[in-house]
């Protein structure tokens, strides 16, 4: 039912998008964006749209942008991407993991259009790039804060789908937490959705009822933050600064800043210098930004800031051995650092996680 709704919504917005395309002049570069949620989710899609607005602001009249929101992942995405490719878009950003195959398929059919797929790893054609941010760096810091702040020793983690991106985040959170308190426990609930304020809130209530006093989420709405505020526990924001929804609740938030990358890539198309890349930038490049450390004692904030500085300077890397897999077998030896391929293909929990990873 959700899917149907999405198609319908995509279709409605699509009509609007094509009509603006007809009015466009040919010299302008047209940058198009596909979002998995509504731009008003105040989370993931909202931040991508902020990046689009940055492009408009910086490049001004030389650029024209368009977007489709709430496009479901899977087969429907292909239709939406192709619609954009046909409507004189020069560069298309597809901003969710589940668009991977669809983006690659359409890219093969439109060699003159540039494609940029967020969080994926497939680049089947020379006209498709992938880009991502190292959010796990922020999650490590959150884990450290959680372990310091929690009284019950249990954090609740609202996860979306069991893809490497999310699993990596859970593992980083636990590594951070266990660096402070080796017995720290994390309860994980899979919501199986990126965006459903009601369901995410229910998940937060469930976790609090089962003893968690710190809530963190890898879903996109502000629902869990509000529940945490109501129940008087602490929480971390997701994707954007959610402090307004929990002035006395939010500890910090991992903010995705896509603006610099989008501007750079659209500029490259204008100047004819666009080349295939595989970008995975983090805190050092300013793609991942931490919201102010709030609602915590000074020593905890100081610890968080110290870790942040070390990550930025490159002195510290979250996934440094020794790290064992959940079953106790060795994954990284003492001092060994995980390679990007290892991280991007991560499909297992590390030692210390309860529960089994959904396949």
């Amino acid at each position: 039912m959700n899917t149907f709704l999405g198609i319908a919504a995509a279709f409605a917005v699509g009509l609007a998008a094509t009509s603006t395309a007809l009015a466009a002049s040919h010299e302008k570069v047209k940058a198009c964006f596909i979002y998995v949620g509504p731009v008003g989710d105040f989370g993931w899609s909202y931040q991508h749209d902020q990046g689009r607005l940055d492009v408009e602001e910086v490049l001004g009249d030389a650029v024209e942008t368009a977007y489709l929101e709430s496009v479901p992942e899977g087969a429907d995405a292909e239709r939406a991407i192709e619609r954009f490719a046909r409507s004189s878009c020069n560069i298309i950003f597809t901003t969710s993991f589940g668009y991977m195959d669809a983006t690659n398929k359409v890219a093969g059919r439109f060699p003159d259009v540039k494609f940029e797929h967020a969080t994926g790893y497939k680049r089947d054609h020379p006209n498709i790039s992938t880009y991502n941010s190292k959010f796990y760096q922020g999650r490590y810091i959150q884990g450290q804060i959680a372990a310091k702040m929690s009284e019950s020793g249990i954090a609740g983690y609202i996860a979306s789908f069991p893809i490497p991106e999310v699993v990596m985040g859970i593992n980083a959170f636990i590594l951070g937490a266990q660096s402070v308190n080796p017995d720290f426990q994390v309860k994980i609930v899979w919501a199986n959705t990126w965006f459903d304020p009601g369901k995410e809130s229910d998940a937060a209530k469930t976790l609090i009822d089962q003893g968690a006093d710190i809530i963190t989420q890898h879903t996109d709405s502000t629902g869990p933050m509000q529940v945490a505020a109501e129940r008087g526990v602490k929480a971390f924001g997701q994707a954007s600064d959610m402090i307004k929804f929990g002035p006395e609740t939010q500890l910090t938030s991992i903010i995705d800043d896509w603006g610099p990358y989008y501007i750079e890539r659209v500029k490259a198309v204008m100047e004819g210098t666009w080349e295939q890349v595989d970008i995975w930038a983090g805190m050092a490049e300013g793609h991942v930004v931490m919201a102010p450390y709030t609602n915590m004692p000074e020593d905890v904030a100081a610890m968080a800031e110290e870790t942040e500085q070390k990550i930025i300077s490159g002195e510290f890397e979250s996934f440094t051995g020794p790290i064992n897999k959940q079953d106790g077998t060795q994954w990284l030896a003492e001092g060994e650092k995980a390679t990007e391929e290892q991280l991007l293909g991560m499909n297992f929990y590390i030692e210390g996680v309860d529960g089994t990873l959904p396949e």
Binding site: A9, A12, G40, G198, T222
Partner: protein, 306 residues
């Protein structure tokens, strides 16, 4: 607060919007009109509720606005399908798409604005009963309305003359017309009742469930409400049990996950839907009973011949 109590409270919150929207749609469908625009009316109710609560600072006025705007929005649907006799399926779908679009437009200014919550109202004495008191007598007003509406609708449909007329219109609009019942007027009222209920359900989302405005926040609940009406074979009290069953299965699966029970989470997430299908199959086995309850003219337009 014990864990069982906490779980039940969560279930009640999850079930209330489903129940509100479904009981309204039940009345609409009993009059022979199929309104697939529940999702759209719901989201209009959500933004109207949120916006008016913000403007006036009073969540009760917000709730009222949700119901009124939901009803007005359904009136538009009514005009198309009843006066202009357009196709009900297509018009209902259009209403959903329109509602999602309009609410997004209206709600732009409210993105990222913390909402005002509709606070629970404790009923004196009754709310002091251990365990049951806080669950059933210390709730927000929309919970009381939802339960009250189920009883009222059941009484209206099966115990009053007006209810009999409404069902007659739904079962055979030509006969009802021949008997002097104003088919179109009855249907207009039923459609608007459905719209008001869906609006209340939306207001529940933006004022109780998650007191905030985000686009698409109904997230498919309107469609679930539509399914619940069929699930309940158009009987009010079955809608009540259906909504709570649906809410309960949804919350139970979250708890099972957090407890680390080794069932794949995808399966658990699909459980409410599997439950719906199973119950539908069980209900449909008795074909005669199903036929008795199904409004015979459901989805068919009516043009008075004279």
């Amino acid at each position: 607060m014990g864990i069982l109590e906490a779980v039940l409270l969560t279930i009640i919150t999850a079930a209330t919007p489903l129940l509100l929207a479904a009981i309204g749609e039940l009345v609409t469908e009993r009059s022979g009109v199929l309104n697939l625009g529940v999702e759209g009316m719901m989201i209009i109710g959500a933004i109207a509720g949120f916006a008016f609560a913000q403007m006036t600072g009073n969540p009760y006025l917000g709730t009222l606005a949700g119901a009124i705007l939901g009803a007005l929005f359904s009136l538009f649907f009514g005009f198309l399908v009843l006066t202009l006799v357009t196709n009900q399926y297509a018009t209902g779908l259009a209403l959903t798409i329109l509602g999602l679009g309009l609410s997004g437009l209206w709600g732009e200014a409210y993105i990222g604005v913390p909402g005002i919550k509709l606070q629970p109202v404790a009923i004196p004495l009754l709310s002091e009963i251990p365990f049951f008191g806080p669950l059933f007598f210390k709730q927000d007003i929309l919970f009381y309305i939802s339960i009250g509406l189920v009883c009222a609708v059941s009484y209206f449909l099966f115990r009053t003359n007006a209810g009999l007329k409404l069902r007659a219109v739904g079962d055979n609009h030509h006969s009802a017309h021949a008997l002097g019942v104003n088919v179109i007027a009855v249907r207009y009222m039923a459609v608007m009742f459905g719209g008001a209920c869906a609006g209340l359900a939306g207001a529940h989302l933006s004022l109780v469930y998650t007191p905030q405005w985000v686009e698409n926040m109904s997230a498919g609940r309107g469609w679930i409400a539509l399914a619940l009406v069929v699930f309940a074979s158009w009987r009010p009290y079955r809608v009540l049990s259906g909504a709570y069953l649906f809410g309960a299965v949804g919350i139970a699966q979250l708890h099972a996950q957090a407890l680390g029970i080794g069932i794949p989470s995808q399966f658990l997430s699909a459980l409410p839907y599997i439950a719906t299908v199973v119950v539908l199959v069980l209900i449909s086995r008795n074909r005669r009973l199903t036929l008795i309850n199904t409004p015979a003219t459901l989805g068919k337009g009516f043009v008075p011949d004279r």
